[in-house]
Amino acid sequence: MISVVEFANMLLGGVAAGMVLFIVSVGLSVTLGLMGFVNLAHGGFAMIGGYIVVLSMNRLGVPFIAALAIGFVLVAAISVVFERLLYTRLYRASELDQVLFTIGLVFVMIASITLIVGPETQPLNLPSWMQGQSNLGFMTYRTYSLVLIGAGVLIMLGLWLGFERTRMGAQIRAAVDNRRMAESLGINITRLFTLTFAFGSGMAALGGGLGAEFLGLDPQYPLKYLVIFLIVVAVGGLGRVTGVFFAALIIGVLDFTLKKYLPQGGTVFIYAMTILLLLWRPQGLFGRAP
């Protein structure tokens, strides 16, 4: 039998992993739902964010929280340039063209990072108060994992409030459900999309920085984690913040548990589950039927 402490250990580890998946993937889900754009380069923005965070800390001595903010702002700004100059030309193009364009972009990002920073893994040096263990009363646990869970919950709450309670959130929900109708009601979809894209990329950067500690940060990052980010989005349903949140938690916990108890076959289970789920509900767990 598994003891309570062991079970809590597993659950907390999985939830922490799920939070990182959620923070990175949420932007991808919303942009996919809004424009139907298959952006395989989303993980690339997470990587660039991670590099900005880690390098500004290690080389310039910026504190962790400030570095995260810098990463968010810079990546959001970079992504606006990409979106206005390049992505916008492909909104009406075929899915294949979007896939090719974004794979090409991933290669460009990987090569640029390798050329500028180098191929080695970049370490994330956490501030001292995030290191070590915390006492939870009945057990102790890694402080940083608890920080991740806290950050994830805060972000989820913020996004949920933003989606449900603000004018822009309502516009996004309307556009995800029926773009043409939203457009004819006078919602400026182009502007809305640029803002959403920038915000989503910024969130990816945040996830890249927060997750650098246990996902590792090297130039192959966007290819290595591409499939898992896509699985989270597909399972959660396009354009659903809560959907991505629960999907990320499920997959995070499953992945963490399976890697511990079935180090060989864990991934098989996740692939098989995704296939079965998508056959049962092609629109994902929380998506609306087309």
């Binding site: 298959v38 030309r89 896939v99 364009f101 090409g104 460009v108 991934t267 692939y271 296939i275 998508l278």
Partner: protein, 347 residues
């Protein structure tokens, strides 16, 4: 089409007689043209000109066959897949496992077995996957491939796991021509012969009514449903044939190299073949040839010397193709040849 001679259908007149220029072009679409001999002449020329590079040439021919199989699904039927290496790997592992465990080592029947196994996997997965479209379809192709890759990794007892299976005992072709790992003369000619047969098959297929119905489905699925075409059956059949051809390519790879490992099933290989096809031009039959040659020659010389610069260049090339030149190298060539500006999409 106002003159009486032109109102007659092509079926009761000899093709090309009494038709307008456009109709004649349509009726003669499938005719062999002089330049179609070029790739084969070049392939034979390569054999005599570069005897030291036959191993490289063999790899190139196998890539061409793999890209042609993808062209059938992606270029003609419009099935966007990032998991085609699943079938390449299925073929390679069929040959590899049968040979390593001493069950079957004859190469030509080995190809047929590999085609059957890959085709069956294509049929089974196609029956369920092709119900979906868009991102869901893309994800399902990736997950199917991942499932196979992880299964091969787990079943180490049969597949060799991460290390794969090496020194496969493959019998000589027709019992006479032995596979020599150092000088790939047998491999080159054997693969070339298989490529010719497969290519003739695919060429016949895409110009048949079946092939045209695939193009119709790619261009407008709704309208094909409306005219009563059995859309899903056509797609599944196409996917199965494409999978079987990819399986043959994988089997050739295993036989030519006498080993098989997990790289045959990975997303890297699936992405590479997609890039090869798109570089040459998809939906064009000869795009696979041009793409494989351009990609592999560039990769051979650049990727070892300047790996990052190669990746940067490749990425930029993909971006430019997706934004400005959707027909690939052949598309640009055709646009220049016909002198009518930019060509959008495959012909």
């Amino acid at each position: 089409m106002s003159t009486p001679a032109n109102t007659g259908t092509a079926t009761n007149a000899a093709p090309g007689v009494g038709l307008s220029a456009a109709a004649r072009e349509l009726a003669e679409r499938h005719r062999l043209r002089w330049w179609e001999a070029l790739p084969w002449l070049l392939a034979i020329g390569f054999y005599f000109a570069f005897p030291r590079y036959l191993g490289f040439g063999t790899e190139m021919l196998i890539t061409i066959l793999f890209a042609i199989s993808l062209d059938l699904a992606l270029g003609y039927a419009g099935i966007v897949t990032l998991g085609h290496a699943a079938f390449f790997g299925a073929g390679a592992y069929t040959v590899g496992m049968l040979a390593k465990h001493g069950i079957w080592t004859e190469p030509i029947t080995g190809l047929l077995l590999a085609a059957a196994v890959a085709g069956l996997i294509g049929l089974a997965s196609g029956l369920v996957l092709l119900r979906t479209t868009g991102l869901t379809l893309l994800m399902l192709t990736i997950c199917t491939m991942g499932l196979l890759e992880e299964s091969a990794n787990m079943a180490a007892e049969y597949t060799g796991g991460f290390d794969g299976l090496d020194s496969l005992p493959i019998q000589p072709v027709f019992g006479v021509f032995e596979f020599d790992v150092l000088y790939s003369t047998t491999q080159y000619l054997y693969v070339l012969a298989v490529l010719v047969i497969c290519f003739v098959f695919v060429r016949t297929l895409v110009y048949s009514p079946f092939g045209h119905s695939l193009t119709g489905i790619r261009e407008n699925t709704l309208r094909m449903h409306a005219v009563g075409a059995p859309v899903r059956t056509r797609l599944v059949v196409c996917y199965t044939i494409s999978a079987a051809l990819a399986g043959i390519a994988g089997a050739l790879w295993a036989q030519a190299n006498a080993y098989v490992n997990l790289s045959v099933l990975g997303i890297d290989r699936a992405a590479t073949v997609l890039i090869v096809l798109v570089l040459g031009g998809y939906g064009r039959l000869y795009g696979a040839f041009v793409g494989a040659v351009v990609y592999m020659v560039l990769a051979h010389f650049l990727s070892r010397l300047y790996p990052s610069a190669w990746q940067l260049g490749l990425g930029l090339m993909l971006v430019v193709i997706a934004l400005f030149a959707r027909g690939g190298v052949l598309g640009i060539g055709a646009a220049l040849w016909h002198g009518r500006g930019k060509e959008r999409g495959p012909s």
